[in-house]
Symmetry: C2
Subunit: 334 residues, 2 copies
């Protein structure tokens, strides 16, 4: 008992000392990401399986993980995604990592939350090209899933509401704490190099944190792309106006999170910035009217790479097999 | 010390007793699968990353795991696979599980081993559609990979030989021991139900084990498809003759493993048998001249499902990010 008290006291002292030496996180425009708290492990496990299940697509070839690949920063690292029948998507796939912190989902915020988002791609003809009725019929025909849905939701009947709830619950666990930048925020002054720290100060002093702030370093507002200079996009996306029908929202997009931005190339809603350096150059110029020198650009890029956190670590799910009654995929059917 | 001796002795007695009661595995045409032995953990880990890396494809969208999905029995559960530009493949993707036990790779055995196989799909225009020079250029441009290749192979220069060696080393770990059937083989008489055991006896007595034998329950010979009755395939594949140029080998295919066959639907080289029941019916008829009754068919299917082993269990790999110099995927370029 006395040992435990001693250790707790030491830990408290260390923590206080750390905070006292470094700038307290509360004074910074960026806050550390807390680790995910799993409320219902069975629900999350079911959601993980569904996230990886290609049978939610018409082709049997595309899963959530195809475009939000958890081996690759929760993205596909493509300018715009590949969908059913090799369809070229209209927009860059945003990362699923830390997406629970977004004020809304999709670049135009047309889904209020992850649960609302999850149903979209399943039924989008250019993405997974299935529909909710077929997706539910498929799952209902798989005994392993019926058992799991029953265990989690208490019913023999699978619903699309349960499907999207489970996927969202899994996605809520996909947060990336303990980046080097977060360690610095929490008081570990050695966690950043002098170059990275200089980059952070430039990032703040230049005004980047006006939009890229909070725990996700973005994701919490819609902003016009091209404030100082217009941006000519290769994507047909109109932005927030598509949802609000308010012309003032034309070309307003959700500010993307910069967490793990080292892994989520290429950048912007049209994916036209292939490198972080290019993205920093363009953002500085069109949003802030700043032309960063090569040295400034490199420092900001160095800071941004310190935002790479611990990637979600979990075992590949093993999916329950189809039964003889399961509707088969039809990848080549028109 | 005395406790340890006592326990060992008890274990030995239990084992002997089990073997004495049940038929010893050595008398059966099927043998248990031994667990994988990892010789070089770093090599296997590198191979796992490469297996999941879509950057080995021209599109940046297709990895080894796309068609040999380790969440789905090491297959894509499609009649024939989907390749670059939504190309419809000519043949059913065989499972990668236990493929190290095959006498050769591909349905026609045109690759001597897994290392020789691994290079094929990367450069096949209808599959991953890249080429070996580009694949190596991509990997060489990724600092995280250069470090890992150096650690494993001792050189700064990545070669396709190293790439396929690493992928093959990972694939060699993808074995599925401890199926219920293997437990029965090892003496646990309660591991099979009476129906499953009846199915196994039918499987043996009908002559299925003439081809489906050994630890992989197949994979160790080429046999003509359609011995008693001709088989009209929907696939253009000619079989072993494509390799040997010997007309006697026309429509000879590698006998597929039946391990995990519950998970590897649909069946046959053209994927035309959607269910195990259909596959058993067709095989009985065209290979053995037998028309199984519905009851016999169900018993054999029950036995076959007892061949599902422990699936490979590992953490999703996190892939090292591309650098600014990495050639970008070109999914829509002709």
């Amino acid at each position: 008992m006395s040992l435990r008290i001693t250790l707790s006291l030491a830990a408290a002292l260390t923590f206080s000392a750390g905070v006292a030496i470094a700038a307290p996180a509360a004074d910074e425009p960026i806050q550390p990401i807390p680790a995910a708290k799993v409320k219902d492990a069975n629900l999350v496990e079911l959601g993980k399986k569904l996230y990886f299940d290609t049978r939610l697509s018409k082709s049997g070839f595309i899963s959530c993980n195809s475009c939000h690949n958890l081996s690759m920063g929760g993205t596909d690292n493509l300018k715009t995604s590949i969908g059913h029948n090799w369809n070229k998507g209209p927009i860059n796939a945003p990362t699923v990592l830390n997406s629970s912190m977004n004020l809304a989902q999709f670049w135009d915020g047309r889904a209020a939350d992850l649960k609302a988002q999850a149903g979209g791609p399943i039924a989008n003809p250019g993405e997974m090209a299935s529909n909710h009725a077929l997706a539910v019929e498929v799952l209902q025909s798989i005994p392993g899933y019926v058992d799991e849905f029953k265990k989690v939701f208490g019913s023999d009947k699978v619903t699309i509401d349960e499907v999207t709830k489970a996927i969202a619950a899994f996605e809520e666990t996909l947060v990336t704490p303990n980046s080097r930048f977060d360690k610095w925020l929490k008081g570990d002054k050695k966690a950043l190099t002098a170059t990275e720290l200089a980059g952070y100060n430039l990032f703040k002093d230049s005004g980047c944190t006006a939009c890229h702030n909070g725990p996700a370093v973005g994701g919490n507002s819609f902003q016009k792309m091209g404030v100082v200079e217009p941006y000519t996009a290769t994507s047909p996306a109109e932005g927030r106006v598509a949802v609000t029908k308010d012309e003032a929202d034309r070309f307003n997009f959700k500010v993307p999170t910069l967490r793990n931005v080292e892994l989520t190339y290429p950048y912007f809603h049209d994916g036209e910035a292939a490198t972080l350096s290019k993205a920093v150059e363009t953002m500085g110029r069109i949003q802030l009217g700043k032309n960063f020198t090569a040295d400034e650009n490199a420092k900001i890029v160095a800071f941004l790479k310190s935002l790479t956190g611990e990637q979600p670590s979990f075992k590949m799910p093993i999916l329950p097999p189809s039964s003889d009654a399961t509707p088969r995929p039809t990848p080549f059917e028109k």
